[in-house]
Symmetry: D2
């Protein structure tokens, strides 16, 4: 397996040159476009890796999967569904159009920014610090990594450039979808996007999802099976922005990408996958990472369809 | 003339019962639905009136005409046009859709909220207080009324319920249309909407516009003819929200309405008109006021077409 | 006056080189981009002209003004309004979006294709030929020109390339806005777009509109004053496609353009104007014609605002 | 298994009373709202059934799965993808909006009407009859049922009421997405929608899909594995109209519904499922059928996620 992974890394890392680094935040521009790494964690907890498997980056939108799961854990699925739908949308990740034109003012799904801001707002806690701790603690357990934390530089940048997200949030507040102090909700959202990890951390988290919520290396139940299943389903229908359909056809793995270059994959009952490749395609997904996963899916017959 | 106005008031005030008071702000709900008043000021400064001609209310969106004129005065028409277009739109006054879907991110025109927030932001001044003073001073001169000021209760309410406008503003900031501190810009915008006046004040302002910027009772030039012409044009194409086309067909007078129940009218080279009738139709225009203006336009052949 | 017109033609015909000829129909590509002509007809019937004042071209969308007037004449304004609204729209002339997204399925106004197809369908007559004769006869009287007829080559091309209009028509049929045989309605619509005339013909038609429906050279009433007023109003708010707002601000004349390069102008109580300049700007309006009208409006103070 | 199916039918058939029969075609209104039937075919070809398992109905939109597969077979996936995308959309099945507003004019996916009209147009054949024969022959083989054919009454009705589809087709022709004679393409589309079958037929077709294109009862390869996989993927992301996301979360089976009341299900590597229940929910899916599948998925742990 390690040999296969190494071959695939060598074959695909050249794609990074065709992509672009995310540029809305200075810190993201420091990445190396040819970096490419992958880690696989199977359901026994065994790990396989190649390339930049331990390079640290911010998980960005991948955090939406975590806030979704915590929101369901804290409120139940029905309550969450009242505030955010689970339908895919043809619009981009930061679109505001459908908040206005649709009869129900709910965001389309928890994988677009508007929907993720809602799930973040639904995490329960007395203070923002307490809510953030929940997110971080979840990540620490799911990754078996005590060092999980926030990249302060990225967080500050997110906060400074977050006007589009402010627009989404105030719009939803005016429609009664969002309650409470908007700047506090957004602050938590910007922090969760700034959580740092590596492809290894993502692969471990993916393995927990693939294993129906049970941590492979400890046997501990981290999250309910039903919540895992919902998360994996929404990852397939909505996880790769408006390229989700194409990704499902070509690769067929529940996955979520982030503009930091990470991709979280969870093959039900088989394995977790973590990928890092910071150069993005025009949809905002890791360009080399997607090529790498396409080969991997073909080699190991990973498609769930 | 006074007799005609009195007859038209008596005939049309019953329409108020078919309308609704604006309800997003508690203060607006205190109005009396059957109130109806009209004032006409001709180009000699002579005044005719009937009904609730001196009742005080907040001018709300009518202030958009003033901030448009001051923005052009301070920046020139071309500069303003770079930030806000002058095309009518089929969307509602607080729509955000077109900010996203159109190639140019400019708001459609200065009579919808997004566009008016832009013109307000373009008024020059060292402090917010200085900018507000410009607006108030303009109104004082145009109305020959030293008592023009802000309704503090309404202003505070606007500020509290202004999340939709915050969404519009942050969205435009994220697109580079709006610059500076958003809460400060919105604060000025909320204040200008809370300026108080009567149908008489509006009629006098209308007379200045009808008279190409020259104050009829003093001969003083308050604003350039060209700017007046632009304002009157945009009032026709965009002044009555998404009922502007119907209003132009039926009545044919440059006009601007506000949810406080006021309508400002300016018949080029003939007269200014001020109307007050707080009950609104579903488009947000004074329901009795529009009926009243329809009769008046027919009686006096006021349509410019 | 003729001297002024000649000067303005000379000054502005160079703009034709910056525009593009309409290309969707081969016949339209045969035009000469530097051609520019203007005719003015005053309310005594006196004519002034310069440039290509008698060159023949197809009137295209200018025919929408005629089918609107005939539809109102045959059905009354209220009946027409039930099928087509009179609101300006920010969308382009052949947009289908708003037919779907708005609560009422009526086209926005009679100057966009969807709306004009509706008004054409509302002209009464036993056969298509009879309806066409009504259109042609109206034009003959309004232009004092017995030679008005159809350009068969253009008509055949319109029919061949009319799939977007077919889409609009079938969509409206599925919504109950349009009734009857779609291909027959469209055939009439394509024929009316292929009516030929010159800048002189347009100027005479404009003079009738400016004169409230009375033919200046004969004193005959061709169309009711009220219908003329409606037509002129809608020309201002919607006549120049999605550049109507800018045109109103800069020029301020009720006008309607066609992709054949014609512009029909009607200055209430003053004059009719006909312009021909086949090179178009990106909105589909005669590029040199608009510059010419801008100068003319400034010189003669023609703006109605 | 038969016992389980019988219990689930009894439990869920009451939901039919909460739904509505499709009403745009008279023939569809003759159905019985409480009818509910299910058939399961496993990968050995063994069949289990309960309720109205052999009642005949028109498959309607389920035929979109077949025309998609034949289009790919005849043209290759890349060629099809150039004409129709594979992304889910938040818009309804007969929406025209995105054909206009998106940069690429391709329909969003082959499960909405616009996209299915495209795939139907891509089936190769010298005549319409030859193309129809391909569709019917495919169905005959996939269902082991020589009686598969067209319901002429439904076909005629589809043709008569198909103006919305005509609008979509002409729109796509004007954009170069669709080529050839529109009425002929639509005629074939209306015929394919009028193909008749039973829940048993759908279950057998589903079993072929679940078995990667190999007919379980004969071992014959009917369609390439890769094409089956694409079909199942698109069924998950787009198969249940704009309720696809919710269906995936709650049930997690590749499925496609039709307004005739049928649902085709294909659980990869496990079984085909056919459901019949003509009463529809507001999204156009069989209301009792969905409840039935929810129970079945829970009982047999069928979700692929």
């Amino acid at each position: 397996m390690n040999k296969l992974l190494t071959e695939l890394i060598e074959k695909n890392k050249v794609y990074g040159n065709k992509g672009k680094l995310a540029s809305y935040i200075p810190a993201l521009l420091k990445a190396n476009k040819e970096d490419l790494g992958i880690v696989i964690v199977d359901l026994n907890g065994e790990e396989f890796s190649a390339g930049k498997s331990d390079k640290i980056f911010t998980i960005q939108s991948i955090s939406k999967v975590i806030s979704l799961m915590l929101a369901i854990k804290d409120n139940g699925y029905q309550k969450v569904l009242e505030k955010v739908n689970v339908e895919p949308t043809g619009e981009g990740f930061n679109s505001i159009v459908n908040l206005e034109t649709k009869d129900t003012k709910r965001p389309y799904n928890p994988m677009i920014n508007a929907g993720a801001i809602v799930t973040t707002s639904l995490i329960k806690g007395k203070t923002e610090e307490e809510k953030l701790k929940k997110l971080i603690d979840f990540m620490k357990k799911a990754t078996n990594n005590e060092n999980i934390g926030i990249n302060e530089e990225v967080y500050v940048s997110e906060k400074l450039t977050g006007d589009r997200n402010r627009a989404l949030a105030y719009y939803m507040k005016s429609n009664g979808i969002l309650e409470g102090n908007i700047e506090e909700i957004l602050d938590l959202y910007f922090r969760q996007c700034s959580i740092e990890g590596s492809a290894r951390d993502l692969a471990r988290l993916g393995a927990v999802l693939a294993n129906d919520g049970v941590i492979p290396w400890s046997g501990e139940i981290l999250i309910e099976k039903e919540i895992c299943r919902i998360a994996k389903t929404i990852m397939v229908t909505c996880g790769m922005y408006d390229a989700s359909g194409e990704f499902a056809v070509k690769i067929g793995i529940p996955a979520k990408s982030g503009v930091g270059g990470g991709i979280l994959g969870a093959v039900p009952k088989r394995m977790g996958i973590g990928v890092y490749g910071p150069a993005l395609d025009e949809k905002g997904n890791s360009i080399a990472g997607i090529e790498l996963l396409k080969d991997l899916s073909n080699e190991l017959d990973l498609s769930i369809f």
